[in-house]
């Protein structure tokens, strides 16, 4: 029977096969649900920035633990599932083949969802590596690698069995994204486990920072951008029913974008202790990025030339037009933020948050919505339930973006200027950081209104798509026919052999293109000593301080506080001596932070008495009226597992931190000795504290910060 069909097909030259739509629908559903959850968490933390009590007084829902949950949920769950949805739909059709393996598709889908759930559990529990966008701990990192490889096999397997010999440009973007994310994830996640859910990165300080932002920037580039460009090049022509404006431009867009992007990481580290040459490289390449990015935007918008009447009609096209325009705005602003003098003002402020959400809400959010409205009715062979509701979603979402972004720009520029403002007498105009915080609270409130609108739009979409799905029925396996070109010709002619090997060849070139940038920037940091000048007075943390540092990481203090005093007069006047790379050599991981919701802490040691820190951590408003820092009362009750501390020291030794092995035998004594001296000091101030509590360790760490070189003239050699 099968043979007969095949024979009949062979005669007509066509094969019949089925596209797997169920897997596309699964990913679509996950996109919608995780999108709503991730944005709800975003809204909760947005409200906590003016109403900290929304954490209900419990650790699990506190801003600093939920913020990584928000970023990971929207990036890897919302955007991630959308990428997979779009890839599984478009790849099958562009290759005219079913996915390589249904089993791998399922493993990919469920594996990814389990990873998301484990993120949603571990972050509130304070299980984190403390590296932005790579916060998941090592067992989950391994799971990500496995699922990613499964996706890769399924993806390249489909390409290998394709019936269309040419690869459309969207597939190029997918291939480059897959390769680059693989490289980034592996290199940034090299860490030494100390227990089932705790690890230390092998890199320290400025090197860790460079690898982290090489990763972090390219998480933006190769997760939020290049796969979405692939989706744009497929779904925009589909929705507009006309081909992309210029295919040649898309090729130039592709190659220059992936080549340039990989160099741009250091623009997150401007005026840090990263050597100047690396900062300059990051800056130059970021500025050059504007060209391919705008090439891509123009290509997208011009695809709609002569079809603007359709845009007025169709909510789908409206979403897509705003998405592409937002991409253009974010990629115009990004290069501007990469100019050192602009970054001097914008870095650490809400300006970055505004930039992020123009990209995230406008580009990623709106493109996703456009694709969903186009795709879901097709998967269910029906019409969209309500075009009116989709239009309403568009306008509510659009106004939401504006009301989100405008106050954040305002707040960002205002706080940036206030931090730098001197009086005519040459002293800081706002010496109390808190003043700059309370000034922008109205902006936080307005932003939350914008977020509420945006989320309302998503809920409207949820309802609309739910009704659509109810109307139709899922075409799980969609029949298609295509000529079987690959099978019949591969073996025979040489040119075809070459073409068939093209994806591989192509992948290699793409890999080379992205490796050059990484290698040129990262290798000199390791092999050339002068890039990290050592400072003889900088010593490893004591056992107590090391544990305190881990509390700092687990609570997510880095989400609001930086540890990097930049070499500006305004910063040295406020915080003290500017930071040197030699100070961070034992910091696994580095904790520079990227946002100053609160003040910098790199020179915190010795600034206040222990009792100040104790009271401040337990109830910040009692010490700083009007502050928005959440209280951390549980730190006074929760205990450190001191018996485990020596394992951490041992791990540090194997990472090259020069502890004496003697310390391993008396870790606990040393720990308690230092803890008891803090407790005694607190007792004098009328505070009763447990030496084994987390708060004592954290105070020990805070009092150590920056003291290695404090008061000494720069001991750099």
């Amino acid at each position: 029977m099968e043979d007969k069909i095949i024979n009949a097909e062979a005669e007509s030259g066509l094969v019949t096969f089925y596209y797997d739509n169920r897997i596309v629908w699964n990913f679509a559903l996950a996109t919608i649900i995780w999108g709503a959850v991730g944005m709800l968490v975003g809204l909760i933390i947005a409200i906590q920035l003016f109403y900290p009590a929304l954490n209900l007084g419990i650790p699990y829902t506190t801003f600093s633990r939920l913020r990584p949950l928000h970023t990971n949920a929207v990036i890897f769950a919302f955007v991630g599932n959308c990428i997979f949805m779009g890839v599984y739909y478009s790849l099958q059709r562009l290759c005219r083949a079913r996915m390589f393996s249904d089993l791998l598709s399922k493993l990919h889908f469920w594996g990814w969802q389990i990873i998301i759930v484990s993120a949603a559990i571990t972050f509130p529990l304070g299980i984190t590596t403390g590296k932005e966008y790579a916060e998941l701990e090592w067992p989950i990192d391994i799971a990500i690698a496995i699922v990613w490889i499964i996706f890769g096999i399924n993806f390249f397997g489909t390409i290998a069995k394709r019936r269309e010999k040419h690869l459309y440009v969207a597939i190029w973007f997918y291939i480059a994204s897959w390769i680059t994310v693989t490289v980034l994830h592996v290199f940034n996640s090299i860490e030494l486990p100390v227990s089932f859910l705790k690890s230390y990165p092998v890199y320290a300080g400025v090197q860790d920072a460079l690898v982290q932002w090489w990763y972090g920037h390219n998480a933006v580039a190769f997760f939020l951008t290049t796969p979405f460009l692939g989706l744009m090049y497929y779904f925009l022509p589909k929705a507009a029913e006309r081909p992309v404006y210029s295919y040649k431009l898309s090729i130039i867009h592709f190659w220059s974008l992936i080549f340039l992007y990989i160099w741009a990481g250091p623009h997150h580290l401007l005026y840090s202790t990263l050597p100047d040459w690396a900062q300059t490289l990051g800056m130059i390449f970021s500025i050059m990025l504007i060209a391919p990015s705008w090439g891509g935007m123009i290509n997208g918008l011009l695809t709609l030339r002569g079809a603007w009447d359709k845009v007025r009609e169709s909510p789908i096209l409206k979403f897509m037009v705003v998405a592409v325009t937002a991409y253009g705005m974010a990629t115009l602003e990004g290069p501007a933020l990469s100019i050192k003098s602009v970054n001097a003002l914008s870095h650490f402020t809400n300006w970055t948050v505004a930039h992020v959400h123009i990209g995230a809400l406008g580009w990623n959010g709106f493109l996703t919505f456009g694709i969903l409205y186009w795709l879901v009715p097709r998967l269910f062979r029906t019409e969209l339930y309500s075009k009116k509701l989709a239009n309403a979603h568009f306008w509510i979402g659009f106004i939401g973006i504006v009301i989100y972004a405008v106050p954040m720009y305002w707040a960002g520029i205002a706080e940036g200027l206030m931090w730098k403002q001197f009086t005519p007498d040459g002293i800081l105009q706002y010496p109390n950081f808190l003043e700059t915080v309370t000034q922008i609270i109205p902006m936080y409130i307005i932003r939350a209104v914008g977020g509420t609108l945006f989320l309302t739009g998503v809920i409207i979409m949820l309802y609309n798509l739910f009704k659509t799905v109810k109307k139709g029925s899922l075409v799980s396996n969609e029949q298609a026919q295509a000529p079987a070109i690959m099978e019949s010709h591969i073996e025979t002619t040489r040119p075809h052999r070459w073409l068939e090997s093209k994806p591989l060849w192509f992948g290699l070139v793409a890999l080379l293109a992205i490796l050059v940038g990484g290698l040129v920037e990262i290798i000199p940091m390791y092999v050339i000593k002068t890039n990290v000048p050592t400072i003889s007075s900088v010593k490893p943390y004591t056992p107590l301080e090391l544990e305190g540092r881990d509390v700092y990481i687990a609570e997510g203090c880095y989400t609001c506080h930086s540890q990097l005093v930049r070499p500006f007069r305004s910063e040295t006047a406020r915080y003290g001596e500017y930071s040197k790379s030699g100070e961070y050599v034992y910091d696994h991981p580095f904790q520079w932070g990227s946002k100053r919701i609160g003040p910098d802490l790199h020179r915190e040691g010795g600034k206040y008495p222990n009792s100040w820190h104790y009271n401040h951590l337990v109830n910040p408003p009692a010490i700083s009226p009007g502050t928005i820092m959440p209280p951390f009362p549980w730190l006074a009750k929760d205990k450190i597992d001191i018996d485990f501390t020596s394992s951490k020291i041992k791990a540090m030794i194997s990472l090259g931190v020069p502890y004496s092995t003697m310390l391993l035998n008396k870790t606990k004594q040393e720990y308690l000795y230092q803890a008891n001296s803090i407790v005694a000091d607190l007792t004098d101030a009328g505070i009763k504290a447990d030496p084994e509590s987390k708060i004592i360790a954290l105070i020990g760490y805070l009092q150590r910060l920056g003291t290695d070189i404090k008061g000494k003239t720069t001991a750099q050699k």
């Binding site: 059709r93 090049y233 589909k238 130039i252 340039l260 050059v516």
Partner: protein
């Protein structure tokens, strides 16, 4: 302005020069390649997403 930037980076300026020249050459190569691409092929590629849900035509392969 470029000279100022480059002077600022003691000893590692060559890395920047190398990277820029490398990119420049690559970019020129891409431009040449794209310029020489066959028009018919480009047209076919451009239309790929629009054809994929049409009933398949029998294609003549080499």
């Amino acid at each position: 302005m470029f000279r100022d930037i480059l002077n600022n980076v003691e000893g590692f300026g060559f890395l920047i020069m190398f990277s820029l020249i490398f990119f420049f050459i690559l970019f020129i190569l891409i431009l040449l390649w794209v310029w020489k691409l066959d028009k018919g092929l480009v047209d076919k590629l451009r239309n790929l997403p629009l054809e994929d849900d049409l009933p398949a035509k029998k294609k003549i392969v080499l």
